[in-house]
Symmetry: D2
């Protein structure tokens, strides 16, 4: 376990802003800790499905990205791993609110990382729960 | 089991094109059958993560949408259900190719629908495998 | 949220000992809290797969049972719900040790319960991580 | 893809009967094909939860074992891999009937195997659907 992140909040935010496949979500990094990252998904009309509910793929994309960032925080921006599994349970609709997503690495093997991500409101009420596995290609 | 879809390819494509939260993916409906829908994700630079790989959330969004469409094909455009669970295994990177996603309902209960979605190339080689549960709110 | 369990440790242990489909695992209840239960799987040769590893179905059975008990602790022994989904990630082999399994309800809807279970050693090192959904039949 | 199994039905049944951690389920191998195995779980009172329903861990154990056997059928009895992920959706209770479980490898990498298992009755009606990942230790 590494106490001091190898990549901090500013560097990770620059990465999100630079990558064309992520930029459209406009994720804002809220905090970076040891093995944990929180991002915010700003509320935008373009994210809402009928009923004013933030669409599910936005939450899954956030879950995917927070673990990706948590791994890079530990190992450095250049370290790349690919998602191998991502399981999602949608627990409560996120209606017309900004969504926060917090990821946390639970188990770091040599090449396999397993963690949990939770999408929640600013008070911590859960919208969705995710488990995510990343694998570093051989 | 209903042999004749209540909503066909043209109506479902209009729905995809009308919904702002889906439109950015530019999914094209390829085919609609009884309990099954295939869409195509056109290859665009904006979808690629480093290495020229179609990003995972695009595949998960496609998996989510094909089951949503398969349910509407059976029950009509106005019938709405919400995703409750979506599990994804990424099996092989989709490198610089259009991706097809085929969803199929395996079990339709009164209010719960369970199905499988597969993202694949035009020859059927798998990129990802998904299980998806939709629930109609009470 | 109910602070005081409707069914306590002794009543839940009697249930485990009385049910023929659970008894063979010989689960011992370690603790019962609000929305959380921990059981112990005693080490027995009959549980070991080649390599001295506690077999996976034993861990999945424990994950299934701790959420079942956590729901009964809250709603009473007579309240019955059925597992609808159980996702498991095996993180590290449990070699020749007793295994503890702790379940916790994360979200209780009217009829749907979602929780997490973790199998771990006595010091909290993870062997497996599970998400479990129970649904009360209509 | 290997057309002829390296381990056939008789050898795989002997393995099931010899392993103490599997034997109690009394799985009977029904058929072995290329990348696919079907087993039968004989109906026994000891497997039933309240309501006469075959208990969930029995179905998960069967899902786990059919993929394990499908890998051994391809690579030989001595080839061992460990389950890394097993996701289960329970779709319909199996009430007082023998259960069949059919597993099929969908993707075989160098060291990672991904497949689907389905528990069903003799006519193919689904009780549960599983996705299973096996990994050969380094």
């Amino acid at each position: 376990m590494i106490a001091k992140p190898k990549a901090g909040k500013a560097a990770l935010q620059r990465l999100l802003d630079a990558e064309e496949f992520i930029r459209p979500w406009r994720f804002k990094i809220v905090s970076v800790g040891d093995g944990t990252v929180t991002v915010m998904i700003p509320l935008r009309k373009a994210l809402l499905r009928p009923g004013g509910i933030v669409n599910g793929p936005a939450l899954m994309a956030a879950a995917d990205v927070v673990l990706w960032l948590a791994i890079k925080a530990r190992h450095g921006i250049a370290y790349d791993a690919l998602t191998s599994d991502l399981n999602t349970a949608f627990l409560r609709p996120a209606k017309n609110v900004p969504v926060y997503c917090t990821g946390r690495i639970l188990r770091a093997g040599r090449r396999r990382f397993y963690g949990v991500a939770e999408c929640h409101d600013k008070d911590g009420h859960l919208f969705s729960h995710h488990t995510v596995t990343y694998v570093q290609p051989a």
